[in-house]
């Protein structure tokens, strides 16, 4: 049977692995947070995997992304070490940020991941800087900033769109529109009906895709990343998506319609949709995917076990890393 997909088998397996890793990472955090094992604020990306992975499949380490408070998915999709992430979330010295950052600040510049961010919209200017650096240093790297429907109303995001457009930066503005900012609907908070219109107002093309469909995201992102790499300038890419959990762990979600979460899980699960597509097309089979599932479960299991066993930061760590030198 011929492969109707834009990725070879290897690529499809890799995409599935990343999505599944995100999913299980988040499902596990949900459980462990509920159990009281995890400190702080935790915002889960489960349900949104196809967007992050569909985009990140086009990127390399010299491409930069800036993430959000809901950053685990972007990290995993961009290749940040899962065990380091888990240890970070557990506040351990072995974490990606030595335990100093936590869920909202996981970063790995060596992987081109400029950080989750506790400040909405703050990644947009940073990514303009990454894109500018690519321009000035003469490499083909792109910068991608992720932000939610809520954060799309932050002035700094809007300014950055204008900046990227006038400088023709290889910058991409990804709106992850999951319909809510905390409990507030996008219909209430965003004045325009269309992010494409908003992009037009800043002199850049806008595209809207179904963010639960990996292939839709993958194709749109491919085009957009290519244009940016080739000097064609910035684009706004809206991914319409859903989040499976509450805004953060602990959210009772009474703002949702009755049955909304169940319906989402049942009918709009990007992993299920992906599996159905690739198996129905006969390009991958369930056994291949199940094997990945098993590997992912082991990875997550190990990550949690290692995180729990890992050492805490020491008192001396409190005041290091404030400056390179002071």
């Amino acid at each position: 049977m011929s492969n109707p997909f834009p990725l070879e088998k290897d690529g499809l397996l890799e995409a599935y692995r990343r999505m599944k890793t995100i999913r299980e990472f988040e499902e596990r955090l949900h459980v462990d947070f509920g159990r009281g094992d995890i400190p702080g604020f935790v915002h889960l990306y489960a349900g949104e995997e196809a967007a992050g992975v569909g985009i990140m499949m086009h990127l390399q380490d010299h491409d930069r992304i800036a993430s959000t408070h809901r950053g685990h998915g972007h990290c995993i999709a961009k290749g940040v070490d899962v065990k380091g992430m888990m240890a970070e979330i557990y506040g351990k010295a072995t974490g990606s940020c030595a335990g100093k950052g936590g869920s909202m600040h996981i970063a790995d510049l060596s992987k081109g991941m400029m950080g989750a961010n506790g400040i909405l919209g703050a990644g947009a200017p940073l990514v303009c800087g990454a894109a500018l650096a690519a321009q000035k240093l003469g490499h083909d790297g792109v910068g991608i900033t992720f932000f939610g429907d809520g954060a799309s109303n932050q002035g700094t995001v809007l300014e950055s769109m204008n900046l990227a457009a006038i400088w023709n930066l290889p910058a991409i503005f990804v709106v992850e529109n999951n319909g809510y900012a905390e409990s507030t609907s996008v219909d209430y908070a965003v004045a325009s009906d269309s992010y494409v219109d908003r992009a037009t107002g800043f002199g850049m093309p806008g595209i809207t895709v179904d963010g639960t469909d990996f292939f839709a995201v993958y194709e749109a992102a491919g085009e957009v990343v290519k244009r940016a790499r080739e000097g064609g300038g910035p684009t706004l890419l809206e991914c319409k998506m859903i989040r499976f959990f509450g805004h953060f762990e602990g959210d009772a979600q009474t703002y949702r319609a009755p049955g909304e979460n169940e319906d989402n899980r049942k009918n709009r699960d990007c992993l299920k949709i992906f599996r159905a597509k690739v198996t129905e097309a006969g390009v991958l089979n369930d056994a291949e995917l199940d094997a990945i599932d098993a590997e992912v479960m082991t990875l997550i299991e190990d990550a949690v076990a290692e995180a729990k066993a890992a050492p805490l930061p020491t008192p001396a760590d409190l005041t290091t890393d404030v400056y390179v030198s002071y």
């Binding site: 400190p39 702080g40 604020f41 970070e88 506040g91 351990k92 974490g95 940020c97 335990g99 100093k100 950052g101 936590g102 869920s103 909202m104 600040h105 961010n117 506790g118 400040i119 909405l120 919209g121 809520g150 954060a151 109303n153 932050q154 002035g155 700094t156 809510y180 900012a181 905390e182 409990s183 507030t184 609907s185 996008v186 219909d187 209430y188 908070a189 965003v190 979600q253 009474t254 703002y255 949702r256 319609a257 009755p258 909304e260 805490l312 930061p313 008192p315 760590d317 409190l318 005041t319 404030v322």
Partner: protein, 335 residues
């Protein structure tokens, strides 16, 4: 009949009573009602930690959910305050001031002066502050010194539910812009709180504990930590006075100086970072105005010059502890 209330509920009650008293009092903020435009329940959140829960049903026209545009809505609160409303804008975490500070410090704080006295801007900006929530570097800051530095702002940071209610009512009735900082790690702390509305005047410190050997001056979460230190020290025969500033601008230096004139020893305790802090402010003013009364160097106990770390293991060291406070007191006693 004494009635006990948490700081969180005291805030809710103050807002409720003031919105009832005066229909020009409005509240604005992100998800302060919750569920706007969504299919589910009304009043779905009541703020990120539920502080304003229930107020929407009592005051539907006075409670406004905002988009995630702090500069726009905090600025709108400030603009509306010059047009006959008395808005209370909620900034969720004070750490977010970086996206809207211009409206606060170049607009609200300066209108009256720049306009030659011909403006009043009765706006309150409420926000959570402080560490201890494992919320890391961008959701745990105090930032009190920054607002205190700025002429034209009043800055409040209460330590208990009783003061919180009275100071918030005063903030709403006050005709100047007020930054009202609620330490999130005190939200659950309870004490007796009268049901009727009452206002506590700004610029009056309270003596949280009387003592004759050493004066501790502090505010916010550091009040309970200082009181805990004082209990420990009592067993060592050191009698500590703890002054709770309550408002940082205006500041009640009279009470501080009177106390230092009695004790001759001063420890300034501040959860903020050390440089140009509330601790340095008090210390410097005492070193200028009550130098003769001092029997020992003034000690400061503050957070380190670092961001707030995430790991609980580090965050617990970041926050000035009763132990560190006690050690500083002992040092002033020459011990």
């Amino acid at each position: 009949m004494a009635r006990t209330l948490s700081m969180k509920d005291a805030i809710n009650e103050a807002l409720d009573q003031e919105m009832t008293r005066d229909p020009t009092v409005i509240m604005m903020g992100e998800d302060i009602v919750g569920g706007a435009g969504a299919a589910g329940e009304d009043d779905a959140w009541g703020g990120v930690l539920g502080v304003s829960k229930g107020l929407y049903h009592k005051h539907p026209k006075q409670m406004i959910d905002t988009p995630l545009s702090e500069s726009a809505y905090v600025g709108a609160a400030i603009g509306a305050a010059t047009c006959g409303l008395r808005p209370v804008a909620e900034l969720m975490f004070i750490d977010f001031m970086g996206v809207c500070l211009d409206q606060i410090y170049n607009q609200a704080a300066k209108f009256r002066y720049m306009f030659g006295g011909k403006a009043e801007t009765p706006v309150v900006i409420r926000a959570m502050c402080g560490a201890g929530f494992r919320a890391a570097a961008q959701h745990s800051q105090m930032l009190t010194p920054i607002f205190t530095h700025i002429p034209g702002l009043k800055v409040v940071c209460p330590s208990n539910a009783y003061d919180t209610k009275g100071l918030l009512i005063q903030a709403i009735r006050d005709n100047d812009p007020v930054i009202f900082l609620e330490h999130k790690n005190l939200y659950a702390s309870e004490c007796d709180v009268p049901e009727e509305p009452y206002a506590i005047p700004f610029g009056e410190a309270s003596i949280a504990r009387e003592g004759s050997d050493v004066t501790i001056v502090t505010y916010g979460l550091m009040v309970p930590n200082s009181l805990a230190a004082a209990e420990t020290l009592k067993k060592e025969g050191i009698d500590v006075e703890v002054i709770d500033l309550r408002t940082l601008s205006p500041i009640d230096m009279d009470t501080v100086i009177e106390s230092v004139e009695n004790t001759g020893r001063l420890v300034c305790v501040d959860e903020a970072n050390p440089r140009c802090s509330i601790a340095t402010d008090i210390s410097a003013n005492v070193a200028q105005d009550a130098f003769g009364a001092l029997k020992a160097p003034i000690e400061m106990v503050t957070a380190p010059h670092s961001p707030v770390p995430f790991s609980p293991a580090l965050e617990d060291l970041y926050i000035p502890s009763p132990d560190r406070i006690a050690a500083a007191v002992r040092k002033t006693m020459g011990a």
